[in-house]
């Protein structure tokens, strides 16, 4: 999988979390996962990509960070990941992915996104859309999270 898919995703993530939540996002070292399942976290949002790239973008957030993101948005204290919280975080991932496709299109990869699938629950593992995934570790002042990118160019 090409690293050139990483920058559009990182750029979109950084832009969206900055404008929506006022967060600064920094990127850690990329990791390649092969022939293995993606290990999720407390809140997982999976967004499919179709078009000139095929695969999925998997966002995983800890419970603490998920609740804090929604607290920043709503101005209300959240004590559990209910439907309100999971839907709000799913929409954030949806917005990031939509913006990422705009950046990808600038690099001649035209893709569409498929509505998010949201899965809540600890230590779930997920099968990958392709046989490889790049893990993008990200850090913010309210917690660290990961984006697993499993895409390949359509034949």
């Amino acid at each position: 999988m090409k690293a050139e898919f990483v920058n559009p995703i990182y750029q979109a993530t950084s832009d969206v979390l900055n404008t929506m939540l006022g967060l600064e996002v920094t990127r850690g070292d990329l990791r390649l996962v092969e022939d293995d399942a993606i290990v999720g976290s407390d809140a997982n949002v999976i967004i499919g990509l179709t078009g000139s790239l095929n695969g999925s973008i998997h966002y995983s957030f800890s419970e603490e960070m998920t609740l804090e993101m929604v607290r920043i948005m709503s101005g209300m204290e959240m004590d559990e990941i209910d439907k309100f919280v999971s839907s709000a975080v799913g929409e954030i991932a949806n917005i990031i992915s939509g913006n990422a496709t705009t950046y990808l299109a600038e690099n001649d990869f035209d893709c569409d996104i498929v509505s998010p699938q949201i899965m809540i629950g600890q230590n779930k593992s997920f099968s990958m859309a392709n046989d490889q995934a790049l893990v993008i570790p990200l850090e913010t002042e309210i917690g660290d999270f990961e984006i697993n990118l499993s895409v390949k160019e359509s034949e």
């Binding site: 832009d15 969206v16 404008t19 929506m20 006022g22 929604v70 948005m73 709503s74 101005g75 209300m76 209910d82 439907k83 309100f84 919280v85 999971s86 839907s87 709000a88 975080v89 799913g90 929409e91 954030i92 917005i95």
Partner: protein, 140 residues
Amino acid sequence: MMWKDSYKIGVEEVDRQHKELFERLSDFITVLRSDGDWEPKIPEIKKTLSFMGDYVVEHFDSEEEYQEEIGYPEREEHKEIHEQFKSEIADFAEKFEKEGYEKDLALEFSGKLMAWLINHVANTDQKISDYADSLDGEDE
């Protein structure tokens, strides 16, 4: 507070509507998430949901008029974004009618609406004011 001054785009009428929209949504979410039985709340929820849907559409119309007035070059694209979201609201309205006014569906709707509106106001709408500012620059 759900509304934040950083969301202001600097056009008084639009900012006033945005603030009102956020305040109404915030009140609605507070009612949704309050303790107590769900059933007795349904009539109020039903009324507010339909009001929120109408209010969002009204606000979109008024924002589109403003974009027309100032000759905002990306008004068609912006309108398209409004249309897409209106159709998502309509899908939810249909689901409520069909499946009943379940709490989880109401929570799902309000979570999505909140995140969508914050991004729209803090990001997409900001571009209108950037354009309006560039017009002011030309007048000088």
